[in-house]
Every structure is written in C-alpha cells, then in structure tokens.
C-alpha cells in the first residue's frame, strides 16, 4: 500500500515537471508585456524598461525557467506582479473559496447523482428511470454558464430567494479563520452566518454540480446495470437477500469503482469549470484569480494558479486510485 502510494508519487514527478514546463511555455508565449501592464497606460517607456529588468523579464527564457523551478522547489510560487505579494501567502483565500464551492458541488453531485443512478438501474425502464436519464442527458448538455445565469434570473431576481453573488452577506461578514466559511462560521458558532454562507453557496454549487451530477448518474446507472447482471448478484439474490441490500450492499460496492474514476475526473474538471461559475456568481475563487491574472499579465499568478489546479487534479485522482484499493482488495499494487 505505502509502496504503491510511493510509486504513484514517484510517477508524478515527470508529469509535474512536464506540467511546470508546459505552463511556463504557455505563459511566456502569451503576447503582451507585463511591465507595461503593471505600470498602465500612462507609464513612460523608461519606467517600463526598468521594471522589466527588475522582474527578470529580459533574461532568456531558459534562465527564467530554471529560476522558476528553483523557486518552486523551495515552495516559492513567486510573487504577484500586481500586488507584489508572495503568491503562496495570498492564494489560500481564493483557493479556499474554490475548494468550498467545488466540494459542495461535488457532494451535491455525488449524493444526487449516485442515488439517481442506483434507483434508475434498480427500476430500469420505469418512469423514474426515464425521467432521471432524460434529465441527466439534458444536464450533460447544459452550458453551465447559461444555466447559472438562468438560476440567477429565476431564483435571485424573479423570486428573490437566494443572493445573486458573493460568498457572504457583506453586512454580516464572516471573520475568516480557515477561509472555508462553512467551517469558520461553525467554529465561531455563528449559525446566522452559516445559513447565509449556505444560501450563497446553493446556486453556484448547483450550477457547478449539474454536469458532474448528470455524468455520475449515468455512469452509476450503467455500471449498476452491468453489475446487476453479474453472477454474484444472482448469487446474493439466490440466498434470499433483500433487494435493497442486494442493490446497496452487493451491487453498489462493485459498481462504484468506475464511478469513482468519474468522480475523480469530474472533480478536476469542476475545478477548471469553476472559472465560469465564479465569473457569473462573482465568487472570489482561484478561477477568477487566474482569469484576472491573465488580463493583467501577472505571469507568476497564472503559472501558480494553473499549476495548483492541475496539481489538485492529480492529487484527487491519486486519492481516488488509493480509494480503489480500499474498495477492491483485488487490485494489487505490487
């Protein structure tokens, strides 16, 4: 087990290295002079040149890359060109916002998706199955940025049930500790704020959850159907086991394995897709952070942001792989 994790971590090294290189290349290839951007429209040429030098932008790219790698190894993600803050120290609140959003979305997607999939498979060809699967197909086909706007239009503007944007009620701001507001408010015993935070989470999380939810539901269903046809399910039924237990004990555990992969993949995609949701709901997350940084040519921030998301993505998939081995003892990692 440890051996396996160790091996997977070792295997990550070339991928991570490749990732840093690709990110670095892409960022360098973006046209535009960050120095000019930092100083703005009214800056003089001399000032721009001076800034360029002091940022090391006039070094050849490989020198910049080596410096960059060296810094990364020291845990230094660089300094934002715009705010002049160390990215490693300023990124957490953004990341926390995204993580909180993504986590809630994923929890929603998993709970609803998996159960809808199970029930659809259990009552195959029933009206529930048809409805759920049609909804799932529509869900997969949904442009979430549009869906998000429609939610906003419907639930915030027309019905005025839920807030349109942000993470908290600005009149009653959360005192951040971990920057995961659900946790922070609970720790401080501020249930009024907790409810506010939840209210702010609902729409973006729902929008973000739509696609993974649909995909998970479909995957669970087909995986369940496959498993339900298998011999050991027949065995369980031949023992006289209750259908509920056959489904939720015997079948689910087997069917969940491919679903786990999908969950892992979708979590990563969701982190990327958050950029759209964050735009629509003014969510101060890492997606916006990167997107804004692109606008400002804030190289170090773009690099660090993309790298961190990609790293999280890899990490999640690693965790999923490890989860497998807990679910399925057959998977021998040696």
């Amino acid at each position: 087990m440890l051996n396996y994790i160790g091996r997977r971590l070792l295997q990550l090294i070339p991928v991570l290295l490749g990732m840093t290189f690709i990110v670095f290349l892409i960022i360098r290839a973006i046209p535009g002079d960050p120095a000019q951007v930092i100083l703005g429209q009214q800056a003089t040429e001399a000032a721009v040149q001076a800034l360029r030098e002091s940022l090391g932008l006039d070094n050849p790219w490989y020198v910049q890359y080596v410096h960059y790698l060296g810094d990364l190894l020291r845990g230094d993600l660089g300094t934002s060109m715009r705010t002049r803050e160390a990215i490693s120290s300023e990124i957490w609140p953004y990341l926390a916002a995204t993580i909180e959003l993504a986590f809630c979305a994923m929890v929603l997607a998993i709970i609803i998706g998996v159960n809808a999939g199970i029930i659809s498979a259990w009552f195959q060809n029933s009206w529930f199955d048809y409805t759920a699967m049609v909804l799932a197909l529509i869900g997969v086909s949904m442009p979430i940025f549009w869906l998000g706007l429609m939610f906003q239009w419907g639930f915030s503007i027309q019905l005025d049930w839920l807030p349109t944007s942000g993470r908290e009620d600005a009149r009653n701001p959360v005192e951040p500790i971990t920057h995961l507001y659900l946790i922070d408010t609970l720790v401080q015993g501020r249930f009024d704020q907790f409810v506010e935070v939840l209210k702010h989470l609902i729409l973006p999380a729902l929008a973000l959850a739509t696609i993974p939810m649909a995909i998970i539901a479909r995957m669970t269903r087909s995986s369940m159907l496959e498993v339900m046809r298998s011999d050991y399910i027949r065995t369980a039924r031949a023992k006289g086991q209750k259908t509920f237990l056959v489904v939720y004990k015997h079948a689910l555990k087997n069917a969940i394995i491919p679903v786990l992969t999908v969950i892992g993949l979708q979590t990563g995609l969701l982190l990327g897709g958050a950029i759209l949701t964050e735009t629509i709901f003014s969510w101060p997350g890492v997606g916006r952070y990167i997107y804004d940084a692109i606008g400002f040519r804030d190289y170090p921030v773009i690099q660090a942001g993309i790298l961190i998301i990609a790293f999280l993505f890899i990490l999640i998939n690693l965790i999923v792989d490890i989860l497998y081995s807990f679910v399925d003892k057959r998977i021998k990692y040696n």
């Binding site: 000019q36 429209q41 000032a47 705010t83 944007s165 600005a170 005192e175 951040p176 629509i280 606008g295």
Partner: protein, 514 residues
Amino acid sequence: GGSDDKSSGDNKDNNSSGDGGGTLIFGRGGDSVSLDPITVTDGESFAVTQNIFETLIRFGEQDTTLQPGLAKEWKVSDDGLTYTFTLQEGVKFHDGTDFNADAVVKNFERWMNGNAEKFPYYQSMFGGFKGEKSAVIKDVKADGASTVIITLNDPQAPFLKNLAMSPFGIASPTAFEKEGDKFGDNPVGTGPFKFVSWKRNDSVTVEKNADYWKEGLPKMDQVVFKSIPDNSARLNALKTGEIDLATGISPSDSASIEADKNLQLIERPSLNVGYLGMTVTRKPFDDKRVRQAVNYAIDKEALVNAFYEGKADIASNPMPPAVSGFNEEISAYPYDPEKAKKLLKEAGYDGKEIELWAMPVPRPYMPDGQKIAEAIQKNLEDVGMKSKIVTYEWATYLEKAAKGEADAFLLGWTGDNGDADNFLYTLLDESNIGSNNYTYFKNSETHKLLLEAQKETDEEKRNELYKKAQEIFHDEAPWVPLAYSTPLLAGKSTIKNFHPHPTGSDIFDTIEVN
C-alpha cells in the same frame, strides 16, 4: 489581514438608524491591488485609499479645482520653484501618530527614494526620483511643526493638481516604517475611515474614524467595498439589496434603474473622452481627407444614444469640457455620409479593407467597445469602407496599438488630474509616440504650442495655447472624438449626499443612508 475585529460579531444591524450611521455596501468592478496608494496605479485601489488617506491638497467636491486638504494653505514663489504649505493642526493618524510637517517630509522622502517599479505614479507625475535629472521635486523640508517647503528643479504648471492626486495620500510614518512592504495590507492614514479588513478579490471593509478632524464626518459607521466584477451581476446585487451603491452601471441599464422607485441613478461628472483613433502612419489614414471622411461617416449621435443611452455628450475635442482650456467654438463633424464618400473619392481611397480594433474591456468612456465597433463598422460600410473588427486581450491591445499596428482603434482617456496637458500633450504630442500617442500623430505646430503651455503659469494664456492646438487637431483629424461620457452609478433611493467625483475616486465622508 486586519486584526481589529470589533466590527464583526454582534452588529447585525442594518443601516436604518435615522441620523446616518450603519453600513454602506459599495459594489464595484474589481478588487484593489494594494491599499498603499503610492504603489498602485489603478482606480479600484484609489477608490479605497481615498477614504483612508488624505492628500495635502484635495480636489473640489465634484470638480478638479484645488481645495485645502491636509494643507490649510499654500504659496508659490514667483519663479514657480518653491511651494510653501501650511498644515492642518491637531490631526492624528489612525494609529495615533501625530500628523505634522515631519510626517509629510517622511512621506516625501519615502517616495523620492523609491523607484519606478515601487512608486510608478511618482515617476510619471514628478518626472523621476531623488538625484535623477528628470526629477521635478528637488527637495522637501519641514519648517517648524506645521510648515512644509517643497523646492522644484523646474517649474511644473500642473504641480499642485498632481499633488492632489490620490497616490500622494499622506501615510502614517510609524506604520509604513514598521510594516515596510506589508503596508499595503495594513494602511494607516488620516482619512475619514479606518482600515478594518481585506478579503482578497471580495471585499475591503473600512470603519468610521471616530477622531476624524472634520467635525461630524463621516456619517457612515462602516463602508464595505465589495468587488463584483460583472456589471450585470453587480446591478442584480443592487436590486436584491445585497449592496447599496454600485459603480460601473452600464448605460443600457439606466432606464430600468430610473424606473425602479427603490433605486436612483447617479451621474459622475465626466472627465474623459472616448475616441476612434486612426494611425496616421498607416494607409489609408495617412491622408487627412480619409480621416476627415471617417469623421463625417460616423453617426455619433446614434452611437451616443444607443450605447451610452444618452448618458454622454457628443465629443468635439480631444478633451472634455470640464477641463479648462476647452475650445467651445469647435463643433463636432456632422454626420454626412455623402461628404464622406466625396472625400474618400478625392483621396483616391482604394476600397482596401481596414482593421477596426475594438476594445475588449468596458471602460467608462467606452461602455462596450465591441458594440460601438459594430456600429461604426456599419457606418463605414455605408460610405464604402470595409472593415474587419479585431480585438485583442486588453494588455495586448494597448501594446500593439502603441506599436502603431492598428489601422483604426477605439480607445479613450480619463484625466488623472483634470489638466489639459494631461489630455492634449499626453495623447497627441509627438514625444508620446510609442506610448500614449497611439495614432502616431505628429505636428510641429501643436508640439510647439503644447510645450509652451507646460511652462506657462498664467491660466489665461495657457488656455489660449490649448485652444489653438485643438483647432489644429480638429482639422488634422487624427481622431474621431466620440463621446464625453458621464459614468453612471446607481444606489438605493435612500442614499443622500453622495457626490461622485469626476476622477472616479469618491470620498464617502458625507454620504448617508436613511
């Protein structure tokens, strides 16, 4: 972040206390970059620092006239090289440090010993840093506790206006000496509000400075600067009551706001101009007649009505009327497609398709570059000029335009300090080719006029020089000036005494919410 947490916690009150007080949630388009004003150049940062810091001289409530700030009064020597400021007394910084001449000198010393990267605005407004030849300020000295003397190397006509700009807010020396580079996270000034906390990309919270030196101000207990990047999301938040006041209202929404009795539309006096620039070094715009033809071809009125929703005036000059020196005698080219066609024919325009660059980001002077470009495209097509709309990401856009790569491009300018020089010289003088003179326009006459005006301290004479220059610009037509827009804000109808400032950085000392 701020360690001062008495604001959070138990104040669940809303802002309905009769005599002001309460919290104002101000929704805006972006987050601050830093809260140390001298280090930044962006309006969103200034919007906050304006309320925490004060400058020696401040602008008028809604114009760019010079008013006493932290300096009660000032004198200029005849040669224009020595400025003597008398400071307000009894003012304290938020951290308790006394505000006095010493503090002012320390601020100037901090700035003068910096560099272009750290303090970009100091460089661009005052020419350079200590010891540099181009530096405007020679030195700054305290004369007693409440007098400061600033000596210049060369006279600078807009010097006082420059000093009134937000970056030159006076900070507590104790604090910036202690915090160093982190001062931007923990700003301490003398302003009406004290810094409380900053949630990146989300909100900055400031609270009432109870010891503010202006009696009875500020009215609000707390102001939250909330960033909601998306215009429509911001408006939605206003409508649902999540915020009280919103900037960056798109003109297209003005009608619906005016119709809503819970909301009011607030206009910010204009200090900007939006224009279509034509790069005079590129065909076909190297021919004056073609440029004039384009001026005739564009239906500015329709544009202003459609995309500024009437919240703008048709522009006739490269600077807005609020700036002294504006030439009222010049009127904009009328919409005359026939004339345009004729001029094009005269010029022998070959029908070559041009690239029409559209701004990728909204700015007050250009609420929707894409759409305006589309409309212009149509206008040009009507007179036989084919164009292709091109856009780049904002930074690239500016950079490429500065390199003279655009045929025709949309752009605009918001004045920094309300001086004509800041428009005409910056945008159209040959010495700014490659930076802000994107049209590459070059004219020996205007060059002479503008340089002369920089040295001229007599207001009348100076204005004459600028008016003359504007005539030449009108005739040479490197631009199609499109509009002087009044940027819009919207707020709850309960908001009172809010006077948005043309520079875009508002001080919330007088604002009240009932």
